[in-house]
């Protein structure tokens, strides 16, 4: 094998074609070395994840029958299902989105468009970014004290949804601010110049043009919330639920009901965690099947985020 020593310096005035080619070949070798190392590093990440997912699918795929989605948990592994878990996940996500998204988007818009640039705003901005990195269990503890006990919401879907909303708000605030900052200043000037108020500029221009970025942040935030286990265990999610909350929509007037907010709950990752911790391989297959559902759900959400970003951005060019 040829040496990897630094290339021999070439004095251009005396170099023959053969010298130049030798020099190029020598330097090219480093190109190859890095390409191989880079490929290796990339494959380690991708292959490991793929292997994990394939393993999950191998373990769990026979359990993915319609019954699995329509059954409550059971002491017999073969009869147990994820009905209460996925219904719980959907309802908790509903609360999270309805509460978290408007608050976070408003906060992001305010910080970017309205807030005066002073030390207080700077402190708030730094802290919002830091909050995105706070471990989720800490949110669980906070929520236990605030929602479950102080506000008396109990160990309910409402408490769970609010906890996760709190947790993903910083993610959405940061995404909103980045999207808002990407709107060119010239567009704002154009709108102000015809006599628009700050609110009109925000409502008619800044918000619509930053929707692709905001939507991406929202979905990424929700995708993170959907897999969250620790804070929900902290606030007292149940691990065995053999009933469904009252449905939010009813056939009799007033057609909506909010009883479900106060209902006990479980969610997919908690159900999965519960099955993993049981002895016996039968329940492990159930855990793997629930895992597949979570992974597919998350991938679908991320895929939708990419699709949205691509589709909506195509419509906007400055």
């Amino acid at each position: 094998m040829a040496s990897l020593s630094p290339p021999l310096a070439i004095d251009a005035s005396h170099a023959t074609v053969a010298d130049i080619r030798a020099n190029v070949a020598q330097r090219r070798r480093w190109d190859l070395v890095f390409a191989v190392l880079g490929l290796l590093a990339t494959s380690i990440g991708v292959v490991t994840l793929l292997a994990l997912f394939i393993d999950l699918v191998m373990d769990g795929y026979q359990r993915l029958t319609p019954d699995f989605f329509l059954s409550f948990p059971s002491r017999r592994a073969s009869e147990a299902g994820i009905l209460s878990a996925w219904v719980g996940t959907c309802l908790v996500m509903l609360v999270t989105a309805v509460v978290g998204v408007p608050l976070a988007v408003s906060a992001g818009l305010y910080l970017e468009e309205y807030a005066p640039r002073n030390w207080l705003t700077t402190v708030i901005e730094i802290n919002v970014s830091n909050l995105a990195a706070v471990p989720s269990i800490v949110y669980g503890l906070l929520a236990l004290g605030l929602f479950v006990y102080a506000l008396g919401f109990g160990q309910s879907i409402l408490s769970a949804g609010l906890t996760l909303a709190l947790m993903i708000m910083p993610i959405i605030v940061v995404a909103t601010r980045e999207a808002v900052r990407a709107v060119p200043h010239t567009i704002r000037e154009a709108a102000y110049a015809v006599g628009a108020t700050r609110w009109q500029v925000t409502r008619d221009h800044v918000l619509p043009y930053s929707i692709p970025g905001i939507a991406t942040g929202v979905i990424i935030g929700l995708a993170r919330a959907i897999g969250e286990t620790a804070p929900l265990i902290t606030i007292g999610a149940l691990t065995f639920i053999a009933y469904l909350p009252n449905p939010p929509l009813t056939t009799t007037p007033p057609f909506v009901n909010f009883d479900w907010l106060w209902s006990g709950f479980t969610v997919l990752p908690i159900q999965m965690f519960n099955w993993v911790s049981r002895p016996g391989t039968a329940f492990h297959a159930n855990a793997a099947a629930a895992g597949i559902v979570i992974v597919v759900l998350t991938l679908l959400m991320n895929g939708f985020a990419i699709f949205l970003r691509y589709r909506l951005r195509k419509r906007i060019n400055w």
């Binding site: 010239t186 567009i187 154009a190 102000y192 015809v194 006599g195 108020t197 043009y209 060019n317």
Partner: protein
Amino acid sequence: MKGVMSNPVSVGVPSPQSGSTTQRNVKSSIRDLNFFYGDAQALKHIDMEIYEHAVTALIGPSGCGKSTLLRCFNRMHDLTPHTRYEGEIRLFPDDVNIVSPEVDPIEVRMRISMVFQKPNPFPKSIYENVAYGLRVRGVRNKTELDGRVEAALRGAALWEEVKDRLGEPGTALSGGQQQRLCIARALATDPEIVLFDEPTSALDPIATASIEDLIISMAGSVTVLIVTHNMQQAARVSTYTAFMYLGELIEYGPTNEMFTRPREQRTSDYLTGRFG
């Protein structure tokens, strides 16, 4: 006060084209205007009259304050923190000091509109681009909106090119068309003054010529204030020219006089390309 007309209300000046004398009303009067970015003074004791239904050009080397002065007229500086106006820009006929803190910048921008250096249409339809200034002030009537959008697009010499595709995005137009769309947007609200901030610096020569024609034709019905770094452009489109340097107004007068017989040495040096 160098080179400022003596009569504050109206003045007789030889028209550059015909040589005959036309009476002009003063549309706006700048009195001892100072402007600050933080501690840095960008405009120093500007005194100047803007004449109604005429094109007034602001020229001078980069950083001389010409764009800063232009942007005082629609209070664009209010969007930047730590800026401060001192003195007056009085707008007639009602004699309002438009840089006074008591006057809402939105009120000023409803009367004085602006066309920017780089065409900046909204990523919305051609129609919505023109109608936006009317929508923000609450015009909802479809017939009225249609009529004023068409009139503005005609005024900007764009109607014939876009009348069959008003629903298409304004950003899909060519650069010159985009700038005319921005002019239509500025005209739709029936402004008393239209400000142009180097409106052709991002355009090719053909688009530039069409914008210049447009500015000349507009002057019959609206007062125009234009910043340009192109002296030929100032000579072509304007009736009056103001030469600024280091935040001061050095010389101001009828364009043909200034370009042929500048009174100040610095004006002459700039016009002949010795600096700037």
